[in-house]
Symmetry: C2
């Protein structure tokens, strides 16, 4: 039994052959089943899901991409959907709920038990992109007065429900977070020792409204399995687990990378995006960049006379324009990624700029040397001089623009990653045209 | 007591005041202590480390950046270093060992106990970038015949040493991996149930020589806390933990992002890189790109006559060159990131190209419409026609280059991320010059 034989059985619509895969599916990982069902029709999905336990159906659904989850949810009778949703992880469940229309949400809620209903309402209320939106309500709490044995008994009773009981959180009667205790420490402790004496008080917690990226960075920094989330009064309201952190960081890295190539937000993964989705994500930046390049064109047109008398200048035009853009892209790329990983902040700008002047100066000098000979060969000493001087200034200016722009954008509330490829290159291009042809005008006239 | 008061005490060299921070440091997170000690002199580091237990000293050292670890290791007497190294996590320890010179390695080894010596030798032998190089030897194994109670007793004895006992691995007498058992399942089980009956057999494991990125992607895919690593015969040799996976994925994302801005490999984080390191990481690409732009320049020089008779063409030159490069950068960015996250493979190229023709065709058309009016205004109907036709072809060709190049690079053994910014833009630029001025020649002569 493999996914291939299952696919054949499904293609042949042979229910006997499909049913034979029950044991195979029971031992298959939900992520693999979800991938197998990707892009399949809803009735095929249901044929396969029918062979699974309700808990596993919920797990598989949890691994579906959001839009596929929604499609499947829409194809299910309400009672059936409610049964699966009840078994889902609270955070996945709340995300799915948020992706449904108001009418669908209203239809689903009455079919759920009160506890799930309230849990969904509570989790779904947090704004997208905050700690509250990615946390789960599936965690174990203990009171500090319990002994290690009592604590273990409590966890034993609660374990099957809890996403992670590797760490249980110790709270006072108001659910204020006092500390955390690791499962292994409870096991190691004398059974009569109170939790109070075993727990670690130096527990990192984040506020429910904190940005999901900073939570993810903190979890990564401290190598945590899970991070507790607290409300304004310090009461625990959820935890964020290591796998959700991984998802956040991967998603952010993808977004930043896309922005570096002047691709806008894409609601879908590339493989699943429609032609119109891709068009929309790309057209805005392409058209916007037209304006930047029109300025460069206007700059060139302004210097038409000097070009007409020294056509040799044309040969170096792409090179000098591009070098400023390239140097700027390098500087902004380094800055943006260092900002994204939390390594560099606005307060470092002075020191970074000082260093950048040195680095860019050296780079410009290297480029000037590299290009001087070609300049001499194509247009003589005058052109060589123009090209070399312009190159140093252009690389320096481009680099400083590239390094400063991410900070400026952050300051005015934009995402600095937007600056990397497109914006910096356009601005540096315009600067390049003006510096190159301006230098030519000064030297050659 | 805070890090600020500690800093003042250190600045004043007041040993009494420094010593007062012992309790504060005992409760501080090792990651925070490591950050505090960053960039401080070695003797200051040792003053602070002296206040910590040996185990915590090792933890703090584990959070140091590699070059700081090495610097500190070099400043320590051999016996002292050996004592700390013995306490370090096996994977951190092996990495530090690999960063030392041969002489330093030879000096350190005899000071260690046999077990640590062998462990270091074994872990340090794996090639950088493989599963073997990031795994730790700190995991718990159980035999399937043990009862749940005996298993818990075993773990109790071994726990303080093991990086994660949330999952213990079940092995046969040859250490062949049979399955895994979660700590919580052992606690929940009847104490007399054999491990054999509790363990999960569907354990994902990776080969020790597998690329670290694919391991990281698999751990992310299955939401694992840890992934066992096996040798060719299926014997367990280590585990890779979720926090190391996070480090790998963040590092890879940074590298890819840097490449998108044509920045070469940087051995250091941006904040800590020296001017020469930054210069080296940037100069190679900048100079290489000169050649690409020289070709563009030669292309323009080749069409000097048509430009001289139609100077209006110059106005649109930057725009048409840049649009091909921008469209190509978009296409390659989407492709590269989808390859990096494992979503897209070579086998999808046909389907992707078909879709890209549609998307790029629409984009080119949009751009042509946007620019036609400006062309008419600057140079009349002829120029408008040239600009519009050239734009469609350039955006299409640039996009197809951008989508194909990452696959070509992968095929010939290069990292596709290299293609994103610089290479695609250069090639698309040259194509843009030739298409634009070639179209002009055809239409205007």
């Amino acid at each position: 039994m493999t996914f291939e034989t299952l696919a054949s059985a499904l293609a042949a619509s042979s229910s006997a052959d499909i049913a034979m895969h029950r044991d195979f599916l029971a031992s298959a990982h939900p992520a693999d089943i979800a991938e197998f069902l990707e892009d399949k029709e809803a009735d095929v999905d249901w044929q396969v899901l029918d062979l699974l336990s309700l808990g596993k159906q919920a797990e598989v659904l949890g691994y579906f991409k959001r839009h596929e989850q929604v499609a499947l949810a829409r194809s299910a009778p309400r009672a059936r959907l409610a049964a699966i949703v009840t078994q889902m992880d609270p955070d996945d469940r709340a995300d799915l709920f948020n992706a449904l229309t108001d009418d669908e949400q209203e239809a689903l809620l009455p079919a759920l038990a009160q506890a799930e209903r309230e849990d969904i309402r509570r989790l779904a209320a947090y704004e997208n992109g905050t700690a509250g939106a990615i946390m789960t309500s599936d965690y174990a709490v203990l009171s500090p007065q319990l002994t290690a044995r009592q604590a273990l008994d409590t966890l034993r009773r609660e374990a099957p429900d809890k996403e992670t009981i590797y760490r249980a959180y110790v709270v006072d009667p108001d659910r204020k977070l006092l500390g955390a205790v690791r499962l292994q420490d409870l096991i190691l402790a004398n059974p009569r020792t109170p939790v109070d004496a075993i727990m670690r008080r130096e527990t990192h917690a984040v506020d429910v409204s904190v940005d999901q990226e900073s939570v993810a960075r903190e979890v990564a920094r401290y190598d945590l399995v899970a991070m507790p989330v607290v409300d304004r009064d310090g009461r625990i309201v959820g935890i964020i687990t290591h796998d959700d952190v991984l998802d956040v960081l991967t998603e952010e890295a993808t977004e930043d990378f896309h922005k570096s190539g002047s691709v806008g937000e894409l609601a879908q993964t590339v493989g699943h995006a429609t032609i119109m989705m891709l068009y929309r994500a790309r057209v805005i930046w392409l058209v916007l960049l037209v304006f930047g390049n029109i300025f460069s064109g206007a700059g060139i047109a302004h210097f038409e006379d000097i070009i007409a008398t020294h056509m040799a200048l044309l040969f170096f035009l792409p090179l000098l324009i591009a070098s400023g853009g390239n140097a700027g892209a390098q500087a902004s790329t380094l800055t943006i990624r260092a900002m994204a990983t939390g390594e560099v902040e606005l307060s470092h700008l002075g020191r970074l700029l000082g260093r950048e002047v040195m680095v860019a100066g050296l780079l410009g000098l290297t480029m000037a040397v590299a290009i001087f000979g070609i300049g001499y060969w194509r247009g003589g000493a005058d052109i060589a001089l123009v090209v070399a001087i312009a190159m140093i200034i252009i690389v320096l200016v481009g680099s400083l623009i590239g390094m400063t722009l991410p900070f400026v954008l952050t300051r005015v509330g934009f995402d600095p990653a937007t600056a990397s490829g497109p914006l910096v290159t356009s601005i540096a291009d315009i600067a390049g045209v003006l510096i190159y042809l301006g230098t030519a005008q000064l030297v050659l006239f």
